[in-house]
């Protein structure tokens, strides 16, 4: 009988300690959302490299919140130490009012430590390093006017900033973090949010990456709405070849100009250009391969799971999050529309030599946004190849969103 009683006590204790008694309904809703995101990543293949770790991190933190738990130090008396089967001799002591206390440290959860890379703004610039190694700036160098389209798409960021401020439920720092979603650049959105409004990191990162994944659904209707059949059918001339010297000088020149004018954008643009210099110089092939493969993959895993782990039920299921999701979509649509409208202006000024569809690629989302320009252009004229022309505004958008981030970071006061 005694054995049965002890067995029951153990089972009762295990049940009480399990998630079944500790989780709230918000946690279960978030677990459900994470399953939907996993489905989108695996079945629909929407940005699976990021969406899958984000979704799994979200699932894990809502099943076991302790995985993001903060480290804590408690002061215990000798009696308390002994009752917990701890050896007092191996702990540092503090004497308060003549009583000796032993400092017992409980370490944080796994994701707490991995999250420091996000919190301290380390991962986003490292992601940019990898992106730099993979990016070909040739189309942008061949047609520098593409920079204008990259800048035009950033207009959406600032218009969303003023809209979010006007609504009244967001502080300027929060509005800036939400507006940067319009740049369609996940690392930049995370970088800005960690500096301006870290408490909104979860919803903003999830919104930013979700909209990047949904580029093929969001952009084409806007592009068709704002352009005529004639404009969409424009076939652009072949780009000139770019010499190796031009390619090598480009990252150096860009980093000098941007870092001098906007020091706050230096970590992002600097790492992007360093990666590109690795690639174009051709003398550090090993580093180049590591940065764009192993390093990038490791950082992507850490960034994905920890960003997902910030989306706990209590933080995520709020009116504020609904506002962020809505305004993020607004920012993204506006950025696309502004890019296309500037594309139309270029179409007019060049007397029909520029296809306005490449303007939508000014939102970063490399290379998905450029592919969309190609796809929509080919629907009008199957012989039209806009991909390389769209890559110019696309990579200009990466630089543009980093510059816009620099402006927000230097002007808006963090919370």
């Amino acid at each position: 009988m005694e054995i049965l009683n002890q067995l029951w006590q153990i089972i009762y204790h295990l049940f009480n300690e399990s998630g079944l008694t500790k989780l709230s309904w918000e946690n279960y809703v978030m677990i459900g959302i994470s399953f939907v995101l996993m489905y989108l990543a695996i079945k629909k293949q929407f940005e699976p490299l990021l969406l899958l770790p984000i979704a799994f991190g979200m699932c894990l933190v809502n099943l076991f919140p302790g995985i993001m738990g903060l480290p804590a130090t408690e002061m215990l008396t000798k009696a308390e130490m002994l009752s917990k089967n701890l050896d007092p001799a191996s702990y540092p002591t503090t004497v308060v009012d003549g009583v000796t206390y032993y400092n017992h440290t409980e370490y944080g959860g796994l994701f707490y430590y991995l999250y420091q890379g996000v919190k301290l703004g380390i991962y986003p610039p490292l992601i940019f390093l990898g992106i730099g190694c993979m990016t070909d700036f040739g189309p942008l160098i061949a047609n520098p006017k593409s920079f204008i389209l990259g800048a035009a798409a950033q207009v959406g960021i600032f218009l969303t900033f003023i809209t979010a401020t006007a609504i009244g439920i967001f502080q300027p720092a929060e509005a800036g973090s939400i507006a940067i979603i319009g740049g369609a650049d996940g690392p930049t959105a995370i970088f800005v949010t960690t500096k301006l409004a870290p408490h909104l990191l979860g919803p903003i990162a999830v919104a930013a990456y979700s909209y990047m994944a949904l580029v093929p659904i969001i952009q084409p209707p806007i592009m068709r709405l704002l352009t005529t059949k004639k404009e969409r059918s424009v076939v652009m001339g072949q780009l000139r070849p770019v010499s190796k010297l031009e390619r090598i000088l480009f990252p150096i020149i860009v980093v000098v100009i941007v870092a001098l004018l906007l020091p706050d954008a230096a970590p992002l643009v600097g790492m992007l250009m360093l990666g590109n210099l690795f690639k174009e110089s051709g003398v550090v092939e090993r580093i180049n391969k590591t940065a764009q493969n192993e390093l990038m993959n490791i950082i992507t895993i850490f960034l994905g799971v920890t960003v997902g782990a910030t989306a706990t039920g209590k933080v995520f299921l709020t009116i504020q999050t609904a506002g962020i999701i809505g305004l993020g979509l607004f920012a993204f649509c506006l950025a696309t529309a502004c890019g296309v409208m500037f594309g139309k202006l270029m179409y007019l000024f060049t007397k029909g030599k520029v296809n306005p569809l490449i303007g939508s690629a000014g939102v970063s989302a490399v290379p998905m946004a450029a592919r969309i320009s190609q796809k929509v252009g080919q629907q009008e004229n199957p012989g039209n190849f806009l991909l390389m022309h769209a890559m110019g505004p696309n990579v200009a958008g990466v630089i543009g969103s980093a510059v816009a981030a620099g402006v927000l970071l230097s002007v808006v006061t963090p919370m």
């Binding site: 520098p144 401020t165 300027p172 509005a175 031009e246 000088l249 020149i253 100009i257 004018l261 402006v407």
Partner: protein
């Protein structure tokens, strides 16, 4: 609230201005250095060509044999008409510069399987 909106408006204008100014500055710089590099490399090429011409002028081969140049082919089965078409296509691209079609070779696995897969990945429809 009014203060916040005023600040937001100022940021909106400053943001537009700074982003456009920085990127326009980049356009100007990239255009200028591209032109400089192009002209420097072009002049180096021209010097080489002049040097070549000087060397070829010393060549005792009669001019008539130089102009009646027949491109080398990998096999003799490529008909003359096809070679003429290829020569015309090359001429349409490089027509402005002095050029010569030296050989016509069949393309054999010009791209590796990985390169072809990459190309297909980047251009495939969604």
């Amino acid at each position: 609230m009014n203060n916040q909106m005023t600040e937001a408006l100022i940021l909106l204008l400053a943001g537009f201005l700074v982003v456009f100014c920085v990127l326009i500055l980049l356009i100007i710089v990239v255009t200028i250095y591209s032109r400089i590099i192009f002209s420097v490399q072009n002049s180096a090429k021209k010097k080489k060509e002049v040097l070549k011409e000087e060397v070829s002028s010393d060549d005792p081969t009669p001019a008539s044999t130089q102009t009646a140049y027949i491109p080398r082919t990998d096999d003799d089965e490529i008909p003359g008409e096809i070679i003429a078409v290829i020569a015309a296509a090359v001429d349409s691209i490089y027509g402005e510069k002095p050029h010569k079609l030296r050989a016509v070779k069949k393309s054999r696995s010009s791209r590796s399987a990985w390169a072809r897969a990459g190309l297909a990945e980047n251009t495939r429809p969604f």
